[in-house]
């Protein structure tokens, strides 16, 4: 059976006036016309284009009487979903529609929806109804204008769009035949949305956000590390405005990750850069971690708040609300401090000096390892880090302090960063199983660490709230219940350490790491076995 035409769009030549086309259609077919509307369509996506990357478009359609929000696939392969809204929520979690929240939350997470571009048009809507006054076909005639980033407008061309209501395909076939024969109109393959995406070159915008650098195994380690740190500097700068504008918590998260990674690259591989500069910049990077930490802690707490609530029985959940209010207040105070630090002379100077340092790394510097081939240095470093993880893990007993697990997690994290930065040095077959086993252990340690942080954080909060008289005995009790539940989950997780560690420290895994980073040692194991 032939595919039925559901939607078809034709471009209207300049010589044909919309008014004349509309009149002709009204004369020829039993159509009714709605009043002409001025429509603005605003397309939304996150800063990092998460919807676009998933092939989705989310746009509001405002015609002065009502605002519809439409979720559709960019290539129109799936049926769109439409809801009416008073305003477009900033976050997926804030939608009144539980369906939109459930569809968008896994994609957007904590990312805010930002208006990305606008299309303006006068919209002429014609309808075909049957004898029961049931709509069978919608015809939209428009002349869309794309609002460019410089606020100028680009006309996309007059067009007529026929949209069949599901199950009523005959009228659309009839009228599209008429348009072809009578006006020699040709179907337009791409709609105004796809045209806008092309004109705004969104694909390049998205690609520019990805870290892009090429590292060669034989290049001096100094150059390789500099390239990585320049890319991380770009990431810091890209997120800086989002942090200062307080758009969403991911800007700060990504900013902090870039800072942390920079610190690892700068400090971890020793004897590559002059010692004095390393010490000075490391101090600044530590400072950046410190000034942004309290806001991030508050963000994490607020993001996890609904999960915290669910730990408690339904009737006890409202008792935690003062805690949320307290944290929101604290976040706004911490935000002020952080903004002041990020606008301070110290930060401006760091930013300037750090960038200048990266751009002018001296190829003739005398640091011991700076000219060695990058792969040679990284092989040794990854292997040493792997051995250190094995040793640290071996020393952890049932009675060991949580701090030891935290230190092990940091070593895993450093190793993971290096694997990510230098993945192109290794064959996928060798690196994939290594990275997978490391990630497994890291996830376990990360989850365990999260519990420690949350329990400590809640204890400190209880004290702070008690001092500022915000804490009722009921809320105190609810927080105790929450802490008990977190401690219980942490303890049960702690029991699983041996299992996770043993799996990572297995002979098979040792062979995998050795094959990737220390082939001589791998040969030795093979010979011994």
């Amino acid at each position: 059976m032939m595919a039925r035409i559901m939607t078809i769009e034709f471009l209207i030549p300049q010589s044909l006036r919309i008014k004349d086309l509309k009149k002709d259609l009204l004369d020829q077919f039993k159509l009714s016309a709605d009043p002409v509307m001025n429509v603005q369509r605003t397309f939304y996506d996150s800063f990092d284009w998460r919807l676009y990357k998933k092939g989705l478009s989310l746009y509001s359609e405002d015609n002065q009487h009502q605002t519809k929000l439409i979720l559709a696939s960019i290539n129109m392969t799936k049926q769109e979903r439409i809801i009416e809204v008073d305003s477009v929520p900033q976050f997926a979690r804030d939608f009144e529609s539980p369906v939109f929240t459930s569809l968008l939350q896994p994609i957007l997470g904590a990312r805010a929806l930002l208006p990305r571009f606008n299309l303006h048009s006068n919209s002429h809507l014609l309808k075909l109804t049957d004898k029961d006054e049931k709509t069978c076909l919608l015809i939209q005639i428009e002349n869309p204008r794309l609002e460019m980033p410089d606020k100028s407008f680009r006309f996309l061309g007059k067009r007529i769009r026929l949209q069949a209501v599901k199950g009523y395909h005959k009228p659309v076939e009839k009228i599209s035949d008429y348009l072809r024969k009578q006006f020699a109109l040709k179907p337009q393959k791409i709609g105004a949305l796809s045209q806008s995406i092309e004109l705004l070159d969104i694909e390049s915008v998205v690609n520019k956000q990805k870290p892009a650098y090429k590292l060669k195994p034989a290049m001096p380690i100094r150059d390789a590390l500099t390239i990585i740190m320049l890319s991380l500097f770009k990431s810091m700068m890209m997120n800086e405005n989002g942090v200062l504008d307080d758009i969403d918590s991911e800007f700060l998260h990504d900013f902090r990750v870039a800072v942390r990674k920079t610190r690892t690259v700068l400090i971890e591989v020793k004897d590559v850069f002059p010692d004095e500069e390393v010490k000075s910049f490391a101090k600044d990077l530590d400072w950046l971690g410190e000034i942004t930490g309290p806001v991030r802690d508050a963000d994490v707490f607020l993001l996890k708040f609904s999960a915290y609530s669910k730990v408690l029985p339904v009737e006890a959940r409202p008792l935690l609300e003062p805690l949320r209010a307290f944290m929101q207040e604290r976040k706004s105070q911490e935000n002020k401090r952080m903004f002041a630090s990020l606008r301070s002379k110290r930060y401006q100077k760091f930013r300037h000096d750090w960038h200048a340092f990266l751009l002018m790394v001296d190829p003739n510097d005398t640091a011991r390892l700076s000219s060695l081939p990058a792969k040679q240095v990284i092989d040794k470093h990854c292997w040493d880090l792997y051995r250190s993880v094995i040793k640290k893990g071996k020393r952890i007993k049932h009675s060991s302090a949580d701090e030891k697990l935290h230190k092990l997690r940091i070593s895993c994290k450093k190793l993971n960063y290096l694997l990510t930065f230098f993945m192109t040095f290794y064959s996928k077959n060798k690196l994939k199983p290594v990275a997978k086993s490391l990630k497994k252990l890291q996830n376990y340690l990360g989850e365990f660490h999260d519990y420690s942080v949350q329990i400590t954080f809640l204890t400190a909060l209880q004290e702070d709230m008690a001092i500022s008289t915000h804490l009722s005995s009921d809320t105190q009790h609810a927080m105790d219940l929450l802490k008990d539940s977190l401690k219980e989950s942490q303890q049960s997780l702690r029991k699983a350490f041996d299992r996770h560690y043993k799996s990572f420290a297995s002979k098979e895994n040792e062979m995998l790491f050795a094959s990737a980073f220390n082939p001589n040692y791998a040969d030795k194991i093979k010979r011994q076995s």
Binding site: I82, S97, L103, T135, G167
Partner: protein, 251 residues
């Protein structure tokens, strides 16, 4: 995808208006919704101004000569489609009896629609038959509109017993009072002190209201012409109580 069937052995208890209004509210929430009008009387199709006609009759679908999707029609409301009724539905019982595994037939027929819809509402004909058995096996939720009278409560009890006797699993029964007239002493008493049948009756009650009857004249869901009426509010409360899209929903 969730399947919500609206069912009662008795006719005239407000099944179709419940399906039409709840389907409208689900679609307004952004869900992709399909209403299957399984009642040969075609009242749901009438409310949506769609001709109750399946070309070639229902046997074409049952015998896999045509896809169910080919007969689905878009309504005048966003996100909301309808599978119209057909007069041949009156023979559905016999046709199901002739097929293999009749009790699972409906679930099997609806399965391919999982990709396109978040919720399917089944507007069932009033009877207890092979069709109802197939509905019970396909549905996640069985909404049972019940008029607060002694005879209606007897019917409700029968449905509950039927589920237990036939060990129908994964079906959440949700009875609620419908067409309630609080001026009637018996209605008020039953609503205030509902009997214990081992299945809790929803708190939301749909009143007997002229606005609901007007759906026949308006031929559209209540909220599209009398959004602020008491009856519209009652359907909204019922929809909120069913809370279909909540992660905590047990269906």
């Amino acid at each position: 995808m969730k399947i919500v069937a609206c069912y009662n052995i008795k006719g005239g208890v407000g099944k179709t208006s419940t399906v039409v209004n709840l389907a409208y509210l689900a679609a307004r929430d952004g869900a992709r919704v399909l209403v299957c009008d399984l009642d040969p009387q075609g009242a749901a199709s009438f409310y949506f101004r769609i001709k109750p006609k399946i070309k070639g009759g229902v046997s074409r679908i049952l015998n896999k000569k045509a896809d169910l999707d080919d007969y689905i029609k878009g309504t005048d409301f966003a996100n909301l489609d309808l599978l119209p009724a057909d007069f041949s539905f009156r023979h559905l019982d016999i046709l199901l009896d002739e097929s293999s595994n009749p009790q699972l037939k409906l679930a099997k027929m609806l399965k391919p629609l999982k990709r396109d819809y978040d919720v399917i509402f089944l507007d069932c004909a009033p009877s207890i038959s092979k069709v109802s058995e197939s509905v019970f096996n396909a549905a996640d939720i069985l909404l049972i509109p019940t008029i607060p009278t002694i005879l209606s409560l007897r019917t409700l009890k029968k449905i509950i017993q039927y589920q237990k006797k036939n060990a129908i699993k994964n079906l959440l029964l949700m009875p609620f009072f419908s067409m309630a007239d609080r001026r009637k002493k018996m209605h008020s008493q039953i609503i205030q002190h509902p009997p214990e049948f081992g299945v809790s009756i929803l708190e939301s009650t749909i009143p007997y209201a002229s606005e609901v009857e007007r759906m026949g004249l308006e031929r559209r869901p209540l909220h599209s012409y009398a959004a602020s009426s008491a009856a519209a509010d009652a359907y909204k409360k019922l929809w909120n109580e069913i809370d279909l899209f909540s992660p905590d929903n047990k269906a």
